[in-house]
């Protein structure tokens, strides 16, 4: 696997700066998913398993067009299905291809304590390096999209790589290549947002979707996967897509102010105790307390 174009810009659990940080800039890549043209064929699910050499596992039939309830450690790409009844009584089948969103500000990476277990490349792809993973599962807590999944046998966490190996060779991700309706697109973030806005405008002006819009949540700095939704005011309808996702505030507090406060308190405490000993010393000389009362009983 060539990593010629995969330079790292963020490293989890890393002391000091990122080697080579800011020496080179790249276009952020982006996957565009137009939910309005998805027919739920699952070609992307199969392509994902094939390219990433994931074993075929058991599926769950629950009387819907959904393969299983949620993504798994070895099933990274899942089309979520929702039969939605609009206010006028009409039915809509909402299909949303769910996978890692490749956040610009990834909660998994912020929470991860293992050096180099999660990296973000300069093209924006967030990738797990299982060789460096310690199996703590903090990424699961940090992720606002419920994406990282643990392999119970190896205690390593897996998720969509945005086919970083293909992208580094100038190819589009496997899911994009397999899509028969053209609802999936891949390119620079700029171009994909442009195309998404164009499509949303088309839906608003030429179709009966006045609330159509683009999902690119700013709470996580924007994402490397953007959606076009028929109704951007209700993203929850699409398999629980959070309307305003962000890194959990407890994770931010823990990795931010609490870390600084704790470090200052620990180092300050050590220095304080040492200085106290220099100034005041022991409460009594050892020999005073070790000696028996030589006839000086009270």
């Amino acid at each position: 696997m060539s990593q010629a174009t995969l330079r790292v810009q963020k490293i989890s659990g890393h002391a000091g700066t990122v080697p080579g940080e800011d020496t080179q800039r790249e276009y952020a890549v982006c996957k565009l998913i137009d939910t309005t043209t998805c027919i739920g064929c699952k070609a992307c699910e199969v392509a994902c398993m094939e390219w990433n050499d994931l074993p075929f596992g058991e599926t769950t039939f629950d009387n819907t067009y959904q393969t299983m309830p949620e993504t798994r450690w070895n099933y990274w790409n899942l089309i979520l299905f929702n039969e939605h009844q609009a206010e006028d009584g009409s039915l809509m089948w909402l299909m949303r291809k769910n996978q890692c969103m490749h956040c610009a500000d990834p909660g998994c990476l912020a929470a991860c304590p293992a050096d180099g277990a999660i990296v973000q490349y300069t093209n924006g792809i967030v990738d797990f390096q299982q060789a460096n993973c310690i199996g703590c599962g903090y990424c699961i807590t940090g992720c606002p999209f419920d994406i990282p999944k643990m392999n119970p046998k190896t205690n390593r966490v897996f998720k969509c790589t945005l086919c970083s190996d293909r992208v580094s060779e100038g190819l589009e991700p496997a899911c994009i290549k397999s899509c028969p309706t053209g609802c999936l697109h891949f390119g620079s973030k700029e171009d994909m947002l442009d195309q998404a806005e164009h499509r949303a405008k088309q839906l608003r002006e030429h179709s009966n979707y006045p609330h159509a819009g683009v999902y690119d949540p700013q709470g996580v700095g924007g994402t490397g996967v953007v959606y076009v939704l028929h109704d951007a005011t209700q993203p929850e309808l699409y398999g629980g897509l959070p309307s305003n996702p962000s890194i959990p505030w407890t994770v931010k507090l823990w990795k931010g102010p609490l870390k600084w406060l704790g470090n200052v308190a620990m180092v300050g405490g050590l220095i304080g105790l040492f200085v106290h000993y220099l100034r005041f010393g022991p409460k009594a000389r050892e020999e005073e307390d070790m000696q028996p009362h030589e006839g000086k009983e009270p």
């Binding site: 659990g13 419920d146 643990m150 407890t250 704790g262 022991p282 409460k283 009362h293 006839g295």
Partner: protein
């Protein structure tokens, strides 16, 4: 009165029974392992500790098990000592004159019993933080088993675990400092079990009166 507090030859008194000493060191060694591996996961600058202790995945795997050992130790301490750790009026007076304790003017302190108010604070601090660490630690042990609808448990657990651990580190540092440096003879008492009567009188006058008064036979030399 337990089988501790027996007067020993050469002006000594048994302060900690074998069981008390053993439990103390079970908790102490497990705590030190938890502290080191916990600090490794706390800061990237200390991640090397986990590598030195056999690798970070090993540290991640063993940390919860040592946590159970530590929780067992704290529970045993609670069973042994909680009845002696009630806060008294003397303890309140002790805290009000803590500046004399800090500046080694112990003669100005209210007479402490078997445990002074600071030791009681340490005890209750470790019991409280121990419970918080155990509860949050169970969540952190299996974060992938927590359903998405209960994700707030995970959010609370990461913050609780780190905060409670930091509080115990503060207590731990003071405990080591008092036991190993400030009060000469205290460290030996939790190894051999005994302290001199002079130690008892200096640091725990209330306890000293109790043991000398209760003793049928006068202390032998």
């Amino acid at each position: 009165m337990s089988h501790a507090d027996q007067l020993l030859p050469h002006g000594h008194v048994l302060r900690y029974s074998f069981r008390e000493r053993l439990i103390h060191w079970v908790a102490a060694f497990s705590y030190i392992y938890l502290l080191l591996t916990g600090l490794a996961f706390w800061s990237p600058w200390l991640f090397w500790i986990a590598i030195a202790l056999g690798g970070a995945p090993v540290s991640r795997m063993l940390h919860p098990w040592f946590g159970l050992i530590f929780a067992f130790g704290v529970f045993q301490m609670y069973v042994m000592w909680s009845s002696q750790m009630g806060v008294t009026d003397t303890d309140k007076a002790w805290f009000n004159s803590i500046q004399y304790y800090i500046t080694n003017q112990d003669e100005k302190m209210p007479p402490a019993g078997r445990y002074n108010a600071g030791q009681k604070l340490l005890f209750w601090g470790f019991v409280t933080c121990g419970i918080l660490l155990l509860l949050s630690g169970v969540v952190l042990w299996f974060p992938e088993r927590i359903p998405w609808s209960f994700r707030y448990l995970r959010y609370i657990a990461v913050l609780t675990h780190a905060s409670a651990a930091l509080l115990t580190i503060g207590l731990f540092l003071i405990h080591i400092y008092m036991g190993a440096f400030a009060e000469r003879g205290a460290f030996g008492s939790v190894i051999r079990g005994d302290v001199s009567l002079a130690f008892a009188k200096r640091y725990h006058p209330g306890w000293y009166k109790e043991i000398v008064g209760e003793s049928a036979q006068p202390p032998r030399k």
